[in-house]
């Protein structure tokens, strides 16, 4: 009973500590909120950006003997006027290069794509390559790069069409057949349509372009990019601050030693082990309350889907064991509360960085990720990543087991040192 009395007293004091409330609840939510606002445009997958203004000069003409229906330059030109790019490219046509340069100088456009008169002719004549000129505002980077990539992509497609045409031609000739003009036109048209569809799909509907993206949404529910990102960000903050909260709450034993209340507790008919257990229980409860509040806040504010109930419970429990264990161990090395700042700051921030808590949305090298296997925070992060990915509780057995063992070992060492320090 006295264990609960001591834990309740510590819990009451913690709830009245503005510093602890700030660090346990306000700080992780505020940091996550900042990131949320910074990347808020990712919501629903929409990325708002200033449209790229592109000027097109298409001087290309169809050679008289060409078996094409229209010059290749027209395909380049049409690509910039396509409906699928209208939301982020504003294209306009200019009569010649000088008009486009004038518009560029007047900053009416950011990029000018100049397609020369003999582009198709030279292209069809093997070995001769006439470049498409791209002029750009020197202060811009993204727009010109996008325009260049689009042109290159299209030309790659045309080259692919050429290859396809030659292969078909060789195969037909091998079979004693020839391709008439209408057939060639139909072939190129079919290829061009396929390629245009492929490009559109690649940009706008990747799944139709055979690009498979795994969604981290739980339970098969639709999710969006922002929610996915915020889930990992929030998990990183939750873990980092839960370890900090645990350590700070455990520091109450140092405060009590300095305030004289610990010595006074020892003068009461209360066993010292009971006193220590009461203080440990308080830390356990504080970390649990913090975890629950942040999970609910993450769901309500940022729409984070934490996962299935079973995995969430195991992740929270594992996190509690690990953070309390590390807190007890860390504080057992500290003699005064003044030492706590640098030791907590150094140890918890260092371990947090090594565990990847601050780089949850960045693909780190495998060697870096491996370091997390040696830290409690690293395993808690693994647990939350599994939970966020909607994994079932059985997938949590290993991280949960590792966290419980880590927590117990760290706790045992710390508790042993405390008992030694406060021996009867």
């Amino acid at each position: 009973m006295k264990i609960i009395d001591i834990a309740f007293k510590d819990l009451t004091r913690s709830m009245r500590s503005l510093f602890l409330i700030g660090m346990a609840l306000a700080a992780p939510l505020l940091i996550t909120l900042l990131i949320y606002f910074a990347f808020g445009s990712l919501k629903s997958g929409d990325i708002s950006m200033t449209p790229i203004k592109v000027g097109i000069v298409n001087a290309d003409v169809l050679p008289t003997n060409a078996q094409l229906e229209s010059p290749l330059g027209k395909s380049v030109r049409d690509m910039f006027f396509d409906d699928s790019v209208k939301s982020w490219i504003t294209a306009s046509e200019y009569a010649d290069e000088s008009a486009a340069r004038a518009a560029l100088n007047a900053q009416e456009i950011g990029v000018a794509v100049i397609i020369p008169k003999t582009f198709t002719q030279d292209y069809l004549a093997a070995g001769i390559k006439t470049p498409i000129t791209i002029l750009q505002d020197p202060t811009l980077t993204i727009g010109p790069t996008v325009a260049r990539e689009m042109v290159t992509s299209l030309l790659d497609g045309v080259a692919g069409g050429g290859v396809a045409y030659k292969i078909i031609q060789v195969r037909l000739e091998a079979n004693g057949k020839t391709l008439d003009r209408a057939g060639i036109t139909a072939l190129f048209e079919r290829y061009a349509n396929w390629y245009a569809d492929f490009q559109r799909a690649l940009f706008h509907q990747p799944e139709k372009a055979a690009l498979v993206v795994t969604s981290p949404a739980a339970g098969g529910e639709a999710s969006n990019n922002l929610q996915s990102m915020m889930g990992l960000v929030m998990a990183g903050q939750l873990i980092f601050f839960s370890f900090f909260t645990g350590a700070y709450a455990m520091m109450s034993i140092l405060h009590e030693a300095e305030e004289g209340t610990l010595a006074r507790l020892f003068t009461t008919p209360t066993n010292r082990t009971v006193i220590l257990m009461g203080k440990f229980l308080a830390v356990f409860l504080i970390v649990m309350i913090q975890g629950i509040v942040l999970l609910i806040a993450g769901r309500l504010i940022f729409g984070v889907r934490w996962g299935e109930a079973g995995t969430i419970i195991l992740a929270v429990l594992g996190q509690m064991f690990a953070s309390v264990g590390l807190a007890v161990l860390l504080v057992s090395f500290i003699k005064t509360s003044k030492q706590a700042g640098p030791i907590f700051g150094g140890a918890l921030t260092g371990l947090g960085m090594l565990s990847g808590l601050f780089t949850t949305n960045i693909a780190m090298p495998a060697s870096f990720n491996a370091i997390g296997n040696f830290t409690p925070q690293g395993w808690v992060l693994k647990a939350w990543k599994l939970s966020l990915a909607g994994q079932p509780a059985k997938e949590m057995v290993l991280p949960f087991f590792v966290l419980v063992v880590m927590g117990i070992v760290l706790f045992a060492i710390g508790a042993m040192m405390f008992r030694k320090r406060y021996a009867e």
């Binding site: 006295k2 009451t12 004091r13 305030e259 004289g260 009461t268 008919p269």
Partner: protein
């Protein structure tokens, strides 16, 4: 019955012998003042009695329970008022008392009744919901005492409870101690204020350098210095010039000098003082002030150790 019994208590910290074979007894229902200068070993003795430290040698008993062999039982009979305020500043006076009551095993209605009674005793019933951190030093001291009274202990140990507080709060605390004693509580009171020891206690133990150097009632201790009178003399020059001459003066029991001030224990000030003036005139030293005091505990300590109590 002995409420407290200390037998040949020793406690060393490395090479430092803080308590060196101290022994004394406190009868049930009496107040014993443990008097001594800073570093005399009072607080270490108190810490052993409170169960905070284990003795290197010897033992101590609270209500006949050994503090080394039956610490929990001994502590249950004991209320300890630490020298420094040992309360939770962010909890209210009432919350503090409830918590400390629980630590002494009180629960439910018993706890509630005792908290209310103690709040009345310490005169803070109307401030029970205020955080202790907002209290004045004297009010904190009163709550500090109240926390040790909740379980109605047989013995209460008060370690210099009046250090650094205003006269009004000091008076309140001294009255509280007397009232508790009148209700039958045994009190072990440590102080380096001889006036408090004189006012409160039936017996006084004087400690110095870890030993109990004198024990008895106030009158018994005063008799140790006999009919001696203390004379404090200030000179216009260094005392060393005349001290050896004055030591030869008839009627001077003891004479020492500290910080340029000479303190003499003499058998009859009316007879000795003119002789001291004569000698000073012969040596060419001028006496600038003289203060004559009747025998008191300060003089006892001076007589026994050659040092002032508050040195």
């Amino acid at each position: 019955m002995n409420a407290i019994e200390v037998i040949n208590l020793k406690k060393s910290f490395g090479d430092l012998l803080a308590v060196d074979g101290a022994s004394f007894k406190v009868d049930s229902g009496e107040v014993l003042s443990l008097l001594g200068p800073n570093g005399a070993g009072k607080s270490t003795t108190i810490s052993i009695l409170s169960g905070l430290l284990l003795p290197t040698e010897g033992d101590a008993f609270i209500m006949e329970h050994s503090v080394t062999k039956e610490p929990t039982t001994a502590k249950a009979s004991l209320g300890v008022v630490p020298q420094d305020i040992a309360l939770y500043p962010d909890l209210s006076a009432g919350e503090n008392l409830v918590f400390w009551g629980k630590m002494y095993g009180l629960r439910g209605s018993t706890l509630k009744v005792r908290v209310d009674e103690v709040l009345d005793i310490i005169g803070l019933a109307d401030r029970q919901k205020d955080a202790v951190g907002k209290f004045s030093g004297g009010m904190k001291r009163r709550v500090n005492i109240g926390a040790a009274l909740l379980h109605k202990p047989d013995v209460i140990i008060m370690d210099e409870p009046t250090v650094g507080i205003d006269p009004q709060s000091r008076r309140h605390i001294l009255d509280n101690v007397k009232e508790l004693n009148q209700k039958g509580m045994t009190v072990l009171y440590t102080t380096h204020y001889m006036e408090e020891a004189t006012e409160l206690s039936q017996h006084i133990a004087i400690m110095d350098k870890g030993k109990v150097i004198a024990y008895g009632t106030h009158d018994e201790l005063i008799k140790l210095v006999g009919e001696l009178t203390r004379i404090d003399i200030t000179l216009n020059t260094e005392a060393e010039k005349i001290l050896s001459e004055w030591r030869k003066t008839e009627g001077v029991s003891r004479i020492d000098s500290t910080d340029g001030k000479v303190t003499a224990l003499v058998d009859d000030s009316n007879r000795v003082l003119p002789r001291l003036f004569d000698t000073a005139a012969q040596v060419g030293v001028r006496i600038t002030s003289v203060d004559i005091q009747e025998p008191n505990l300060e003089m006892v300590f001076l007589h026994l150790t050659g040092r002032a109590l508050r040195d």
